[in-house]
């Protein structure tokens, strides 16, 4: 019943702007998984700070040495152990080499090693783990036995031995890290794929006659991509750590090449005389670790499908 006791009838209402064509369109643009993740990552302050730091450091590593007056191994006897100043922005080391340039040359090496070792490990691990998890059976048996055995062997020892056998250098360091480094990724990818392949959407694809390869590419990979990216981001600090560690004990990169590990090592010798020589590389190592860890944490939250669409 209406307000005035009158009965409401159909003809009292007028249809305004009904458009059959528009009814089916979506009012908001379709957000893909990655757009959604990016949106959530941007909201996460600490993770976004991490991302910004990583980007700035990478850019500086590429460009800073190009635009500096000093070469990374130019020695200047007049400015040995010089403190940071306008001439030498971050001071000089014990042989008068400019630390600003050396830091960014070191960043090139450290970041390259971190990124490439982690990426290669991820690729190898993902392929082996994926195949093993997807096809199962004998292949899986063999792979898992190998993984079980390799998992028991302390990775650092293998890395050290491989480095010694094939010689020291950036490339060999990466290779050495990759020989046992893929195992972690392999285990977790295998588990994920094993879980996914028994789910209904994969079954549906199979019933529809989709080939195995397309199932892997179209259905399995997009589903584990988020986890892989997070994993990659968490693995980079580990690789940088390992490089610094190996260089520190004298089994990694050798001078005149420099990396953050070497800079820290050289700095520690001068700790009493010129503390800035260790404080500066330490600051960059720590902030990079911090940034990557924060970014990794943020990515894990942003890419977690269970949290998708939550908090608006």
């Amino acid at each position: 019943m209406g307000e005035n006791g009158k009965e409401m009838t159909r003809d009292m209402f007028v249809i305004r702007g009904k458009n059959v064509n528009k009814m089916e369109t979506m009012s908001r643009p379709n957000i893909s998984f990655w757009q959604d993740a990016w949106r959530r990552l941007k909201k996460n302050k600490s993770a976004f700070t991490g991302l910004v730091i990583v980007v700035i450091y990478s850019l500086l590593a590429v460009f800073a040495p190009m635009f500096s007056r000093y070469g990374f191994s130019d020695m200047d006897p007049n400015s040995m152990n010089a403190l940071p100043s306008l001439v030498h922005w971050l001071g000089c080391d014990s042989t008068g080499r400019d630390l600003w340039v050396r830091i960014w040359m070191g960043a090139r090496v450290s970041l390259t090693i971190g990124l490439s070792a982690a990426t290669i490990n991820m690729c190898i691990g993902a392929v082996i783990g994926g195949l093993s998890g997807y096809y199962g059976g004998k292949l899986d048996m063999v792979v898992m036995r190998i993984v079980d055995i390799l998992y028991g062997i302390p990775s650092l020892i293998v890395t050290i031995l491989v480095m010694v056998v094939i010689g020291r250098g950036i490339a060999t360091l990466i290779i050495a890290m990759c020989i046992v480094g893929w195992i972690g990724t392999c285990r977790f990818v295998r588990g994920e794929v094993y879980r996914l392949k028994n789910q209904d959407f994969v079954l549906a694809a199979k019933v529809l006659g989709v080939k195995n390869l397309s199932i892997i590419i179209r259905h399995i990979i997009p589903n584990i991509m988020g986890l892989l990216v997070t994993n990659l981001c968490m693995a980079i600090p580990g690789a940088i750590f390992q490089e610094a560690f190996l260089s520190y004990i004298g089994l990694g990169i050798t001078p005149p090449n420099c990396s953050w590990g070497i800079l820290a090592k050289e700095g520690i010798k001068m700790l009493r005389v010129a503390p800035h020589e260790v404080l500066i590389p330490a600051f960059f190592i720590c902030t990079t670790m911090l940034a990557l860890n924060l970014l990794g944490d943020g990515l894990r939250d942003a890419l977690d499908p269970r949290l998708r669409g939550s908090e608006g």
């Binding site: 899986d140 048996m141 898992m144 079980d148 055995i149 028991g152 062997i153 302390p154 990775s155 650092l156 020892i157 050290i160 031995l161 491989v162 010694v164 056998v165 010689g167 285990r187 977790f188 295998r190 588990g191 094993y194 600090p237 750590f241 610094a244 560690f245 520190y248 004990i249 004298g250 089994l251 820290a264 090592k265 520690i268 700790l271 009493r272 503390p275 260790v278 330490a282 190592i285 720590c286 902030t287 670790m289 911090l290 860890n293 924060l294």
Partner: protein
């Protein structure tokens, strides 16, 4: 349970065997020779090679080495005259082990406490401080931590001895430096696992039964949350043990790490082999113990074979 233990032991033995074989052949293809001193005449060098059995074909050497190894004999060092690898390990390992155990105790106990406090105070200032400590801990490499602790506590404030290993106060700085990274990761894992457990049904049941908070946290929450920490104990022991390499060199501690690194750079075959096998065996046994412990604590692990558990 017995079947599970046997399976793990068998896997550990195979791993150990593979490790020994791989290292044996890897060491032999390393560039360089152990006897390179300029003082050595070719005849003496040949004699020494004969003494160490290098003139025999590789497979024979391998069988001989394995045979000796089964009796626990690592052979003589090639650089330190008249000292067996067993002697050197026996002399230096106690230092490394002592340092490692101290660091582990500090890392696990403080890590757990920090993680629990942090989880119980979720979202407030105390949690924030704990999380900050944990993040810093996972971001600072242990050699930098070691150097800083040494600089501030030893040199600047003169509170603690800066080097060597001669008494309790000497052990504090190195063990804290070594423990910090592990402490931080233990506390992070404990925190997140505590928070996960809070939402479980059995906690609700415990609350519904009217148990006190202390009992809920102590009996139900911590006991269940501690599982992931136990899983990471194996890798943790490995991390702490290899971490001793640097910490020993910073604090001038006469442990195994120095000898290991040195033997790698001087091609001391028998030392590299012996120490690698020793380290490897030690870690494999640690992992084995953790696996078995895990099987005892969590009945679900026993039923699922380790291959299927991921």
């Amino acid at each position: 349970m017995l079947k599970y233990v046997l399976k793990r032991v068998l896997a550990a033995l195979i791993t150990l065997f593979v490790l020994v074989s791989v290292v044996f052949f890897m060491v032999r293809v390393m560039p360089g020779e152990p006897f390179t001193s300029a003082k050595l005449t070719p005849a003496v060098a040949a004699n020494m090679e004969k003494y160490y059995g290098f003139d025999k074909p590789l497979p024979v050497q391998y069988v001989q080495y394995i045979g000796k190894l089964l009796q626990g004999d690592f052979g003589y060092s090639m650089k330190y005259t008249n000292r067996t690898v067993n002697d050197i390990i026996g002399e230096t390992f106690p230092f490394s082990a002592d340092l490692g155990i101290r660091a582990l105790v500090i890392a696990i106990s403080f890590g757990l406490v920090l993680g629990i406090i942090s989880a119980l105070n979720r979202g407030n200032k105390i949690d924030f401080i704990c999380v900050i400590i944990a993040i810093i801990g996972t971001s600072v490499p242990d050699f930098i931590m070691g150097a800083f602790l040494q600089y501030f506590f030893g040199i600047k404030w003169g509170l603690l001895p800066i080097a060597q290993y001669k008494g309790f106060e000497y052990t504090i700085l190195p063990s804290v430096a070594l423990a910090f990274f592990t402490l931080a990761s233990v506390s992070r894992i404990m925190r997140s696992s505590m928070l996960e457990v809070v939402g479980q049904d059995y906690i609700k049941t415990a609350k519904a039964k009217g148990l006190s908070d202390l009992r809920i946290v102590g009996r139900h929450q911590i006991r269940n949350a501690i599982m992931p920490v136990i899983t990471m104990l194996g890798p943790t022991v490995a991390a702490v043990l290899t971490g001793t390499f640097v910490i020993e060199s910073i604090y001038a501690i006469p442990g195994m790490g120095k000898y290991y690194v040195e033997s790698v750079s001087t091609n001391d075959y028998s030392m590299i082999l012996g120490m690698t096998v020793f380290y490897g065996a030690f870690l494999i046994i640690c992992n084995l113990i953790v696996d078995i412990l895990y099987g005892i604590v969590d009945p679900r692990v026993r039923i699922a074979t380790p291959v299927e558990d991921s």
